[in-house]
């Protein structure tokens, strides 16, 4: 445990990271952690060790346990409306669901008859639709795909499924290395970052779930190590995105407010605990935990509703 290092850019950053905030290491010795998501029913954090090929859970006071292994080098995780784990399958080139009995159901693997790229991160909207980024990099990075490393699609994009796993739709096909994605608290905006471009783009989400008016939201112009990867929002709509030095906190207007510095490269983060002010951060072989000032909008339908209701932003 040590003091959390930050750099302030805008006045009032203490509201986001109160003075005296510390950074705990809750897990270490892993290879490449990603996909954190908090499950209040079990009071545990699910996450993956991509290169270790494992889905794990961390339970405060109990420690680590392996849930499934191998995972096909699974990456981003989220929860569906029935609190089942959904995984952006990355190395396995599928999107899959972990059933309560431990079975794995493949939800998506091909687009118009061609194998998709390598799903990187995944999120569920309040209407139950499942959205993920289909980045190409997983087929090229040594050690990720174990079956087929041939590229078939001539684009990288964002796909959507209905809640039941049917109705696969291509939502955007003009992205370069699409990685993290999240909705604004009111779900009227979809943020998607592009790692290699070091930027976040944003689209308006129509009532029929179509995307429109894609535009640049934020550009990471710093030079420290780290790229846009995992991305989440707080209940006020501020965007938390990994990037140079750690995690960038960005206002709804796209202005950098400040940065949380992490000793290891941060890849993703998850809101946790009853007040949703705890943040777990996956960073290479480590999982960190810290406590922030503003509650986040967590994954999981009931969790999201609870967090927004507590913040006086219910009925969304």
């Amino acid at each position: 445990m040590h003091a959390l290092d930050v750099s302030h850019t805008a006045p009032g950053f203490e509201r986001f990271v109160p003075p005296g905030t510390v950074l705990d290491t809750v897990a270490s010795g892993l290879i490449f952690t990603e996909g954190p998501v908090w499950q209040p029913k079990e009071g545990c954090l699910f996450f993956v060790d991509i290169r270790g090929d494992r889905l794990l859970k961390y339970t405060p006071g109990k420690g680590l346990a392996t849930v499934i292994q191998p995972t096909g080098k699974g990456n981003g995780l989220t929860l569906d409306h029935d609190d089942r784990i959904l995984c952006a399958g990355w190395g396995g080139r599928t999107v899959w669901r972990l059933e309560p009995d431990g079975a794995v159901t493949t939800l998506a693997s091909h687009w118009q008859g061609r194998k998709i790229n390598t799903p990187n991160d995944i999120v569920v909207k309040s209407d139950g639709t499942i959205w993920w980024t289909d980045m190409i990099n997983g087929i090229y990075i040594p050690g990720m795909c174990t079956e087929d490393v041939q590229r078939y699609l001539d684009f990288e994009g964002v796909f959507r499924l209905n809640a039941d796993g049917a109705g696969m739709a291509l939502m955007a096909d003009d992205l370069i290395t699409p990685n993290g994605l999240c909705f604004s608290p009111d779900e009227k905006l979809l943020y998607v970052n592009e790692s290699s471009q070091r930027r976040i783009r944003v689209w308006d989400v129509g009532g029929d779930n179509t995307l429109a008016n894609g535009r640049l939201f934020y550009k990471d112009t710093f030079s420290e190590m780290g790229v846009p990867d995992g991305m989440k929002v707080d209940v006020e709509g501020n965007v938390y995105c990994t990037g140079s030095a750690g995690i960038h906190i960005i206002s709804r207007e796209g202005q950098l407010l400040g940065r949380i510095h992490t000793p290891e490269h941060a890849a993703n983060m998850a809101w946790a605990d009853d007040d949703w002010r705890t943040m777990y951060i996956t960073a290479r072989g480590i999982v960190y935990r810290t406590r922030l000032g503003i509650p986040g909008v967590p994954h999981g339908h009931a969790n999201r509703k609870q967090a927004l209701a507590m913040a006086g932003k219910g009925d969304r």
């Binding site: 290879i31 490449f32 290169r51 270790g52 990099n137 090229y140 990075i141 040594p142 050690g143 990720m144 795909c145 174990t146 079956e147 087929d148 490393v149 041939q150 590229r151 078939y152 490269h265």
Partner: protein, 299 residues
């Protein structure tokens, strides 16, 4: 006898490599555009055989007809399956910590009669995909082989190379030829392959040397003809005797040299009777010399 080289494809502007005869056409790689191309001598057309190769360099056919390649920027050997998929082979050494277990960037490969894949793994050229992973502290010839359970295992075969380039196997499978581009001069080495599959002490078959203009460019890629001679792409216009195809006897005697219009990167026999030699060059061209008076080894 003089060989007349004609350009049949390219130039693509940067090096072409990995030339192999597939039975009716020539496959070669263009790492910069991440493609494997195919030249069809029937109609003279050149087309894409595979896209998105992530810098594939050397190619080789196994005795069972399977095609393998060195995917440089993904730091692994892959198999190009006939239905269009691409399977990664074992890419880690057994028994090392995870981050230290990856090999370098493979370049050239040769496959023996029992399907073992011998490949050179020189120092990285270009940036590998993804977050950086450490490179090993050696540049060796490695081998992929299948134990009886049919899984693939990666083994280190040389412990005395610093910059291996082309690799080739003698017709009887008892000798491994390695082009070693050492800092103090490029050589062609012959390693005996022992009965247990390991390599014995090497002999230097040829030393390329240098002069006041610099070190002479040694062998990049090479092949073996039906008589067991080593046919090698070497040399440059910068220093030494020029850009050449050399023909060495198995004992290292230089019995022929043939000037090539551009620095050659690799060569392979082709056409119906395997008497033409196809040569890839650093400007991304595919050249052909017909009626070489030599014949390729049937695989």
């Amino acid at each position: 006898m003089d060989w007349r080289f004609e350009r049949v494809a390219g130039p693509l502007g940067s090096a072409a490599m990995g030339v192999v005869w597939d039975g009716s056409g020539v496959l070669f790689t263009h790492p910069e555009s991440h493609r494997i191309l195919r030249y069809d001598p029937q109609d003279g057309k050149v087309g894409d055989f595979r896209k998105w190769t992530n810098g594939a360099a050397g190619l080789a056919f196994a005795p069972n007809g399977e095609l393998f390649g060195a995917q440089q920027l993904s730091r692994r050997i892959v198999r190009y399956n006939s239905e269009g998929s691409t399977m990664p082979m074992a890419y880690r050494f057994v028994g090392l910590p995870y981050h230290s277990s990856f090999h370098n960037m493979p370049k050239h490969l040769a496959i023996d009669a029992v399907g073992r894949i011998w490949f050179s793994d020189p120092a990285p050229r270009g940036v590998a995909s993804g977050p950086p992973l450490p490179f090993p502290d050696h540049c060796s010839v490695l081998r992929l082989e299948q134990p009886p359970d049919r899984s693939w295992v990666l083994k280190r075969m040389t412990y005395d190379t610093t910059a291996p380039a082309g690799v080739a196997l003698s017709g009887d499978g008892k000798t491994l030829y390695v082009a070693e581009d050492a800092a103090n001069g490029a050589t062609l080495r012959a390693y005996p392959i022992d009965a247990d599959g390991s390599l014995g002490e090497y002999d230097v078959l040829h030393h390329f040397g240098g002069n006041r203009h610099g070190k002479f460019r040694g062998i990049d890629g090479m092949t073996v003809d039906a008589e067991g001679n080593i046919v090698a792409a070497a040399g440059s216009t910068a220093a030494g005797p020029g850009a050449l195809i050399y023909v060495f006897t198995p004992r290292g005697r230089v019995i022929e040299t043939h000037p090539v219009p551009v620095e050659p990167t690799n060569c392979a026999f082709g056409d119906a009777d395997l008497t033409s030699l196809y040569v890839t060059t650093i400007d991304g061209s595919l050249y052909r010399a017909r009626d070489t008076g030599r014949r390729g080894k049937r695989t």
